[in-house]
Amino acid sequence: MFFFDWISWLLNWFGLANLKANIAILGLGNAGKTTLLHRFSTERLSAHPPTLRPNSHSFSIGNVNFNAHDLGGQQNMRYLWRNYIPDNKTIIIFMVDSTDFNSIGESKSEIHDLLQDQNLENSHFLILGSKIDVKSHYSKEQLIQALDLQPYFYQNPQPKNINMVMISSVTKEGFAEMGKILRDTAESLNK
């Protein structure tokens, strides 16, 4: 055991043991998906127009190299989402604007569609509540309520591979937790 750990440590050191993982970033338009991905891949905060065609970028967290597909969240583009979740090894990030109380119902129905999708039964979900730097926003508990996700979060054992983190792409609050979850998920998927 010691020996194997030592080897993986060495490989890591040389950047050889890099794990790979795919992500599909979903969520309604204006949720903050592109802003987050830009933060991940360039470190910089920047303003983007609505995403009109799926595109992808890669970034690393620790020893994991992620390739993330950024998909447009406007209504007419959502049918494409499933094309970018080809298997249950694709981590699904679903982003919810925690400051937009009007669109929460729409997010709820999209999330539940995904959670109940037979093909995604074994997929790993990460729900991100975005923009928590804004004064008035849902807390994590409120968001779970509003999205009707209590069955997924308050049951033991949890019926699904699902996590939720509240983040801000402006202040990077929540980034450490989010990064850890993504890395752990990637590692568990690579087992």
């Binding site: 338009g29 204006n30 592109t34 802003t35 830009h38 891949s41 360039t42 910089r44 905060l45 920047s46 303003a47 983007h48 127009p49 609505p50 995403t51 009109l52 065609r53 799926p54 595109n55 992808s56 970028h57 890669s58 390739n67 597909h69 950024d70 447009g72 406007q74 007419n76 583009m77 494409l80 094309n83 970018y84 080809p86 298997d87 792409s169 402006v170």
Partner: protein, 746 residues
Amino acid sequence: MDFYKGEETDGVRFSWNRWPTSRVEATRKLLVPLGAMYTPLHQSPELTKVPYPPLRCKGLCNAILNPYCSIAAPFKTWVCPFCLQHNQFPNHYSGISDVHKPAELYPNLTTIEYELPTNDTALPIYLFVVDIGLPDDELRALTDSLTMSLSLIPENAYVGLITFGSMVQLYELGFTACPKSYVFRGNAPFKATTLIDKLGSAESMNLMSKKFLVPANECEFHLTSILEEIQKDPCRVSSDKRPLRCTGMAFSVAVSLLQAIAPNTGARIMSFIGGPATQGPGIVVGEELKEPIRSHNDIQKGKAKYSSKAYQYYKSIGEQAVSSGHAIDIFSCSLDQVGLYEMREMVKLTGGFMVLADAFSHPMFQQSFQKIFTRDTDASLKLGYNAEIQVVTSMYLKVCGAIGHMSSKGAKTSCVSENEIGIGGTSSWKICGLDQNSTFAFYFEIANQHNNQMPPDSSGLIQFITSYQNAAGKQIVRVTTVKRDWVDNNAPIQHLTQGFDQETSAVLMARLAIFKTENEELQDITRWLDKMLIKLVSRYADYKKEDIRSFNLSENFSIYPTFMFHLRRSNFLQVFNNSPDESSFYRFMLNRENVSNSLVMIQPTLEKYTFNGPPRPEVLSASSISNDSILLLDTFFHVLIFSGETIAQWRKAGYDKDPNYQNFRDLLIAPKQDAAAILKERFPYPRYIECDQHSGEARFLLATIDPNITHTNNIPQDPSKGEIVFTEDVNLHVFLEHLKKFAVQS
């Protein structure tokens, strides 16, 4: 200096309108290349057309008689200003005198069109290539549009039909008895000869036989019924697979068919594509959805499995089309990528149209498509086919190359510079499809030796000769001859700088930048733009060395740095949040439009509507946004009406319906009318958006403006003025400060 005048009469604008007299001086002083933006089919209301062929110089220059030729009594000969050759006037030119001259010698007719007297008029050919791997409603929308177009196409123009999905189908339109079509499978690209073998005798492969290509008025009924009956590809697709599309084969069949039947006569292949090629040559992505289509990221890292092979394949199709003078259009309509990135070269080489829309049922497609068939006042389509453009330069000037949708004819005449810029090494180019917006950037070089004195009062001359077939099938030669003065090396620098056209310069630099994106890293291109800008500014600004505060740029340089700021930030040089298809499309458009349209793309325009007075142009920045105004943003690709928060509230409260608030109603209507006017003129039809402040769609505006107000910077006291942008991007002010700093140092 008035730079617009030359554009109005000749459709041409230069970066520099006065030229240094030697190569050395030019290298030192012209820190934006000497170039011209030329629009061969520029529609000027005063354009003079004459019904006879042009008179060519006997010398090697091959130039055409023009107002700058010297003629003197007894008017028997003319001297070519390009090669100084003496030419005899032919007999039918006798009778010239000081007062009686042919039109092409009138001093104001620097642009003139000759219509060649020929008996046979060849009407253009439209070959539709239709993707049937589309969803049902999309296929219906497309075939409806095609049917509609039959009533717009000139009635004796030829049309043909090819469909593709899991296989290619070529329809016979000639026989009305029963519909007949030929099916092509397999992976090998066709050559015209093998196609002829397959389809019948060589004798039947001509326009006379009216088999595959038939005049619209003879096959309208038949073709309409075929279009009505076109079914979705019967080949079933499971949900984890993409529809089969042998797009590459379809183009090969189309190009070869036209090459066999109608070489060197105007024709366009109009292709309608709703998804990526998944089969055969030119494949862009595999059939399995599991395998995603390549992204910018994949391309940069050399991980795009099919891209370079597909690119080469479509490029060779493009070259085949060029060899027979045919244009290729792509109407790409889908919410996902279709492989425009790989296919772009076909369209670029041939001067075709490229449209990127969300769907065939979307106005961005439908309006764009219709627009192509819009006729001008004398009821002809404003299009040119199978064209050639030739550039002739006077002594001391050479042409380095051109950037635009054209291909080299490899004519290495004495006007050609060793120094290549863009598509160089030639002085003539082939353009298979032209329209009134097609604009080409030409780059020149001053070749005179430093110590060689120019004759006094001499000037530089450039002639553009464009021969093309118009939409009525007539052969036209348009000749534009432009003259610019030399500036003596010892003259005050203002003589040179007064001729600097910063708008045209920005566009010529943008074209160069776009050209570089084909082979260079974006970062390097941006760095190159910065370097060039610093050089220019440090040469032409007034300042004391090392003293930023003393920095001052004269008026005709002053907005150039702002253009560069926006260009660096634009979708042309930034690919994040864009797919390769989108980037290809944006760059394509910048590579074909005239100066004013290109400027809108580089630095979008913003118009502000308030209760206090008429609408006025606003600076493209976050501080131009306010609660109580409406903004109209035009990025060329998007036209957006943005209502400030208060305006939006009032509208939601229905004040515009209240007769007491007529002025509010007027305020809401004004930007819509202006937007409608833009939409009417623009090709391709842009994305039209109406949105409110703080809405998701407002991001089209927020991502475009100069972010001079951010969450950390310049937050206004009064929250009703300005808008906070969440970004760490450099704003214009900081950019300019840096520029000044570098400029005064160098």
